[in-house]
């Protein structure tokens, strides 16, 4: 079974650097594999393994032909990658990103299943996977916490606030996976060395048959007006035990509606 995984290469969250003048993240340095994508890569490797073979292909979009993050996923065991790199993509929004990734996915022959994270760790729009499914006219299942494939069907346990839904869809399909779906492996020494020579197909927007003037700032139909820091986390509530602490904790939990 062949699985495509959409992966994003992002600035290291530990050292994101300053924002550009247009309020976007600086992406001209080294980029790393978005940790939330490592789950999809691992899931894909396990599904291909369980199916008795097939390739895992990465699809990504990043400036300057950046491949550092892709190499991490290749070191985990993915076979190859398609990387769309084009200055025209600067300022891309969710929808044009989805169109570009969908076109890139079409370059991968025989994809049975497409996996993505539920959202990226730098943009957080959380809409790209579903938009890709819509562009490709594929069934889409979101928030998978368990994925199985059998007889041309993908069966998914879909995380909800109260538990999970059992869903299934015919292949090919697109599934977005949560961080709980599997535990990503650590790349091995041999995997890292082998990743150096795995093929990365580097393409431009035009190579994909898309119009460069319809993507990026030109095609995003959006503008970032202002960026403000996230509010600092509020201090927690300290309950002094005067014999009734247990009662106060119960009231607190009751207020959260978790009881």
């Amino acid at each position: 079974m062949n699985v495509v995984v959409c992966v994003k290469q992002i600035p290291d969250p530990a050292d994101p650097g300053a924002l550009e003048e247009d309020h976007t993240l600086k992406r001209d340095g080294k980029l790393i594999l978005d940790e939330s994508d490592s789950y999809g890569v691992e899931m894909a490797l396990q599904l291909a393994d369980a199916a008795g073979g097939g390739d895992v292909t990465l699809v990504s979009m990043a400036p300057n032909n950046e491949t550092s993050g892709l190499r991490t996923a290749l070191a985990m065991g993915a076979a190859k990658a398609v990387l769309v790199s084009d200055d025209a993509l600067s300022g891309a929004g969710a929808l044009d990103t989805a169109k570009v990734l969908a076109a890139a996915i079409k370059r991968v022959e025989g994809a049975d299943l497409i996996l993505a994270a539920t959202e990226s760790s730098d943009g957080y729009t959380g809409t790209v996977p579903e938009q890709i499914a819509a562009v490709l006219d594929l069934p889409s299942v979101t928030f998978a916490k368990h994925v199985e494939v059998a007889d041309g069907t993908v069966k998914v346990q879909r995380q909800t606030e109260s538990g999970f839904d059992e869903c299934e869809a015919p292949l090919p399909a697109l599934v977005s996976v949560t961080a709980g779906v599997v535990e990503p492996r650590y790349p091995s020494f041999k995997g890292i060395m082998a990743a150096k020579s795995k093929p990365v197909d580097q393409v431009t927007v035009a190579d994909l048959g898309l119009d460069p003037s319809a993507v990026g700032w030109a095609g995003a139909g959006q503008e970032i007006v202002d960026v403000s820091p996230a509010p600092e986390r509020q201090a927690g509530e300290v309950i002094e035990d005067e014999g009734d602490a247990h009662q106060k904790i119960v009231e607190f939990l009751d207020g959260l509606k978790v009881l």
Partner: protein
């Protein structure tokens, strides 16, 4: 519990600018070890250390390893951490490709060892000792022995130990009494008891390969009569599978000040006499020739002693990270310059700054020294030009006692300052700062106490090539002084590099004077040299540390002047120059205070009788 973040940026800096990684990649066996591959490997390895190994460190200290019957159980999480390490293929990285190694330079393996030690030194001792045993077999074993033992040891599937010490044979290995008797089939039967055997028994691997020093019946006394044997825990069948249990068993494990999770075993060889048809004694296989065991130990010594220096480096780094994190959070008092009524984090207090910069500067100098030494081991082994290989070999010989003693003495200092930064809570075990200090102490003692290192330096290393090897090193340091501009009287002497150069020039002159004294008085009367070997060793090592920090400053300045460096890169290089200047101005000058103790010679050391010493 304290987090550990692999210091990848500084590791890269030292590998690129001081250890000459690019030049190593040009050597024949290291063609595949280009910089991008090396740093990719180190980054992923660092992640494993930080996420999987580091959290086991405090648990291991609290639980310790436990001796139960014939077995030793390692603390919670150790088996899992070790399994990850082996599954990733990491133990093999710096070893020969012929035995399933990764064929990477030794210096890359040393960078990995630093991270292993920072993450969990007690657990890191299992691979460290295995490495020693691999070296011995790889250098001196026959083909059959290599075929049987090396592959599973290189991959980490089997572990190894080094069995030298006995109750009455510690620093004086020649006094050992364990016996080895040759059998008709060419194997030997080993009987005796060994103490202080690191990971002599444990539950991390199915097989343990003991390397044992023993004496054959007709052996001459002292070190000239020692032979070296392979004694596996399980005999190995023709097909490589494990067969009968050999007669080597754990008697007890020690309760120690530090590295409590590392099982330090008393091992008994041939005490049960349950060998059946094999006869009494543990089955052993001679490595190389009889009576050559001590010579073989010497071939491994440079690597082993560097490995212990790297333990010191790893502990210092972890202690430093913990101290900075605490000092950035702990609010206490009002620092100079803070508004009235405002409380400050202690990192804003000048004396805390002094402590943190001392930790940082020492740790970075230790890293420079360990990696430069490791890179010289690579050059010595693989450089096609005989002159270049010889120069590297001589430098390795000279610096071995310096790296071992300085990095472990400084580990004690840095981990102690780490506690001091924490104040009262640092003295409380839950804080975790004290563990690093307790763990560090042993590094000054084993693999040749630091006193033995000093004897090695003055007795064996100073006389190398009639004193020319040490003179070559002084010339190297003078060349760096010249580069720093410190030797140039025309300069205004105010810039960072000029100041570093000036302080280094003074230190080198002091070392030269002390070295001259050592040659003059030590040759005439060895007691004079041995009496002051330790302060001389410290003086020498601190000057070498200053030299490497000077080279660091030059490289950082060049990177800054090269342009197009901004953000966190600029900040890193600027910090490097500041740190180097701190070292030059505030740490390096200790060498001048050591001249007096050196030139005091042996006078008065034996003026008191033992009775007077006891009062």
């Amino acid at each position: 519990m304290a987090d550990y973040t692999p210091p990848l940026r500084d590791i890269r800096f030292v590998l690129e600018h001081l250890a000459g990684l690019d030049d190593l990649a040009k050597l024949e066996p290291f063609g595949h070890a280009d910089a991008a591959s090396v740093f990719g490997v180190l980054a992923e390895f660092g992640r494993l250390m930080s996420e999987v190994w580091a959290p086991t460190n405090a648990v291991g200290d609290a639980e310790g390893s436990r001796h139960e019957g014939d077995e030793v159980r390692t603390p919670a999480g150790f088996r899992e951490a070790y399994r990850h390490y082996v599954a990733g293929g990491w133990p093999a990285v710096p070893f020969d490709v012929d035995y399933q190694g990764g064929g990477f330079p030794w210096v890359v393996g040393i960078a990995m060892q630093e991270m292993l030690n920072s993450a969990n030194m007690a657990l890191a001792m299992a691979p460290l000792l295995t490495q020693g045993a691999i070296d011995a077999i790889a250098f001196h074993g026959d083909e059959a022995q290599k075929e049987t033992f090396l592959r599973p040891m290189v991959t980490g599937a089997w572990s190894g130990t080094m069995n030298l010490t006995e109750p009455d044979a510690g620093s004086d290995v020649g006094a050992l009494r364990t016996r080895a008797v040759r059998q008709d089939d060419g194997t030997y039967r080993i009987t005796g008891q060994k103490v202080f055997i690191t990971f002599g028994e444990h539950d991390l691997t199915e097989q343990i390969v003991h390397l044992v020093l023993a004496r054959t019946p007709e052996a001459p006394p002292g070190t000239k009569g020692i032979s070296c044997f392979i004694v596996p825990k399980y005999l190995v069948e023709e097909d490589g599978s494990l067969g009968d249990r050999n007669d080597v068993h754990v008697v007890s494990i020690e309760h120690k000040m530090g590295i409590r999770a590392s099982p330090t075993c008393v091992l008994a060889f041939g005490e049960r006499g349950d060998g059946g048809a094999r006869g009494e004694g543990a089955v052993g296989y001679l490595i190389g020739e009889e009576h050559a065991g001590m010579r073989y130990m010497f071939t491994m010594m440079n690597n082993a002693r560097l490995g212990v220096g790297v333990e010191g480096l790893g502990l210092a780094e972890r202690a430093y990270q913990q101290a900075v994190a605490y000092a950035s959070e702990r609010v206490q008092g009002r620092a100079p310059g803070a508004s009235p009524g405002e409380s400050s984090t202690i990192i804003d207090h000048p004396d805390v700054r002094r402590m943190l910069l001392t930790m940082k500067a020492f740790t970075e100098a230790m890293r420079a020294m360990c990696y430069v030494q490791a890179a010289q081991i690579d050059v010595a082994k693989h450089h096609p030009d005989e002159a270049a290989a010889t120069e590297a070999r001589e430098l390795v010989e000279l610096l071995t006692p310096i790296v071992k003693s300085w990095c472990t003495d400084l580990a004690e200092t840095v981990t102690s300052i780490g506690i001091q930064v924490h104040g009262g809570v640092g003295y409380v075990e839950e804080t975790g700062a004290a563990q690093h200090y307790r763990d560090a102490k042993i590094t000054q003692i084993y693999e040749g106490t630091n006193g033995i290192q000093a004897m090695d330096l003055v007795g064996r290393k100073l006389p190398l090539r009639g004193g020319a090897v040490v003179r070559d090193q002084i010339s190297r340091m003078r060349a760096t002084v010249a580069e720093l501009g410190g030797g140039d009287p025309e300069g205004d002497g105010e810039g960072d590099l000029a100041v570093i150069g000036a302080r280094l020039a003074e230190a080198v002159s002091t070392l030269e004077a002390a070295t001259g004294w050592m040659f003059e008085h030590g040759v005439a009367d060895p007691v004079e040299a041995l009496s002051v070997a330790t302060p001389y060793q410290r003086l020498f090592a601190t000057t070498v540390g200053g030299w490497l920090m000077g080279r660091s400053a030059l490289a950082a300045r060049a990177a800054l002047d090269g342009g197009s460096v901004d953000g966190s890169e600029r900040s890193f290089f600027e910090a490097k120059v500041v740190t180097a200047r701190f070292f030059a101005e505030r740490l390096l000058p200790e060498v001048h205070g050591l001249v007096g103790p050196v030139m005091a010679g042996g006078r008065g050391l034996f003026a008191l009788t033992p009775a007077q010493l006891a009062r």
